[in-house]
């Protein structure tokens, strides 16, 4: 369903606590689904569960109700290590010679 509920007259601004207290609940798991044989597992979202076994069960119910997958992985979110620096990926832009299209080959040469 949808919705953005408008601010009602007199409504208080919410004070949201960031990063607060998920320690009172279940840990967060990242879910990866293999859509069909021959494909990689792909990240689809996350869920909360007390342990890996329950996380797998919940991932099945939460993310594959319509045959969206043949296998799931769950990984504790805290175990994911991510790159932080977008400039890390910039050097590729000045190395066009790494791509096959950089090289002009005459049509007569055929498949290459």
């Amino acid at each position: 369903m949808s919705y953005e509920v408008p601010v009602a007259p007199g409504e208080e601004q919410q004070d949201i606590e960031f990063g607060s207290s998920s320690d009172h609940g279940f840990p967060l798991w990242e879910v990866f689904v293999r859509a069909k044989r021959g494909l990689n597992h792909t990240h689809v979202g996350s869920l909360h569960a007390p342990d890996s076994e329950t996380a797998i069960q919940n991932a099945r119910d939460g993310y594959t109700r319509r045959a969206e997958g043949v296998s799931v992985w769950v990984v504790p979110s805290t175990e994911i290590v991510a790159s932080d620096d977008v400039t890390m990926f910039e050097p590729f832009e000045d190395k066009p010679y790494r791509h096959p299209t950089f090289y002009e080959i005459p049509d007569e040469v055929g498949q290459l």
Partner: protein, 313 residues
């Protein structure tokens, strides 16, 4: 990156119609607008299970019952995708739930109306999910990556919801006089609340301008509502139902259906907690959470025991 470069990158990504991702720098206002909108959206999915769950045990056939269970389960799933997406912004699921239970975060006003007959299951699927689809198809293009991806997944499932609803309506209008009357009564009660789902007029909507600039929102409330009206009026006519609006008229020039004015007093009253069922919905949600405490504690205890056994093994 230095702060100026981060801000420029944010602006460039938005301008290029690309997606902002969780670890990107973003303005505080962008983050809090998204949390607010995604949380309300997630809460709506979860509270939205109540009016329909009300009819699971009274569904007219076993097939209709299985369909309704599948639909209600989907709503729980949609809540999950949205909470999951909201959590990427650094807010915890527990915190969002606290904000819902304490009434500080809201959900769509539509779920504060009662479901009085089986025909309401038809109208909810057809009109309420129909309105949701119009809104959500556009939100697939929202600028925040996780929200956009959640919308793509939800839209795929939502079309089943609308079609099963319309199928209920087709069966009813094909039935006895009593069944036809039930279908008409349902649209009489749900038509206006469904139109209210799109929110106040653009001129009254405090969030629209900034949300449009950030591309969180892509089309305004009034334009979305008009899209919904134009697609739904012919569907009602196909069923032989009357839309409860004496001012409803087709405008040959614009090609749009014009409607009478929405009862905004009712809308604001419902938003502010005085709809027919606001208190019951939250009381039921809070009770379900409290009643489930022993299950959560048991599951956590079992997981902790297994972890300590693994260590000692």
């Amino acid at each position: 990156m230095d702060p100026d470069a981060e801000e420029q990158m944010f602006a460039a990504v938005i301008a290029a119609d690309e997606k902002i991702e969780p670890r990107d720098w973003m303005p505080d206002g962008y983050r809090s607008s998204l949390i607010r909108q995604m949380a309300q959206h997630a809460h709506s999915e979860v509270i939205g299970m109540q009016p329909e769950a009300n009819w699971i045990l009274r569904a007219p056939t076993l097939l209709r019952k299985a369909i309704l269970i599948a639909k209600v389960q989907d709503e729980a799933g949609h809540g999950l995708y949205l909470y999951s997406a909201a959590e990427t912004l650094g807010v915890s699921r527990d915190e969002l739930q606290r904000l819902l239970h304490s009434g500080r975060q809201k959900y769509s006003s539509i779920f504060n109306y009662p479901t009085l007959s089986w025909a309401d299951m038809g109208t909810i699927g057809w009109l309420v999910d129909g309105a949701a689809i119009v809104n959500q198809i556009v939100l697939q293009r929202t600028s925040y990556g996780p929200y956009s991806r959640a919308m793509v997944k939800i839209c795929k499932e939502e079309s089943f919801h609308a079609r099963q609803g319309y199928s209920i309506m087709m069966t009813l209008v094909d039935g006895s006089e009593e069944q036809k009357a039930m279908a008409q009564d349902a649209i009489d009660r749900w038509w206006w609340p469904a139109l209210m789902m799109f929110g106040p007029h653009d001129s009254e909507s405090s969030h629209t301008e900034q949300s449009m600039a950030w591309k969180i929102k892509r089309i305004t409330n009034d334009d979305l509502r008009q899209m919904f009206i134009d697609q739904t009026v012919p569907q009602a006519h196909y069923l032989g139902l009357t839309i409860p609006d004496p001012e409803l008229a087709f405008d040959e020039e614009t090609g749009h259906w014009n409607i009478g004015e929405i009862d905004w007093e009712e809308f604001w009253a419902t938003i502010q907690g005085d709809g027919p069922l606001n208190r019951e919905r939250i009381a039921h949600k809070t009770k379900a959470w409290d009643d489930g405490r022993w299950v959560r504690e048991g599951a956590s205890g079992y997981a902790a025991k297994n972890r300590s056994l693994d260590k000692s093994a």
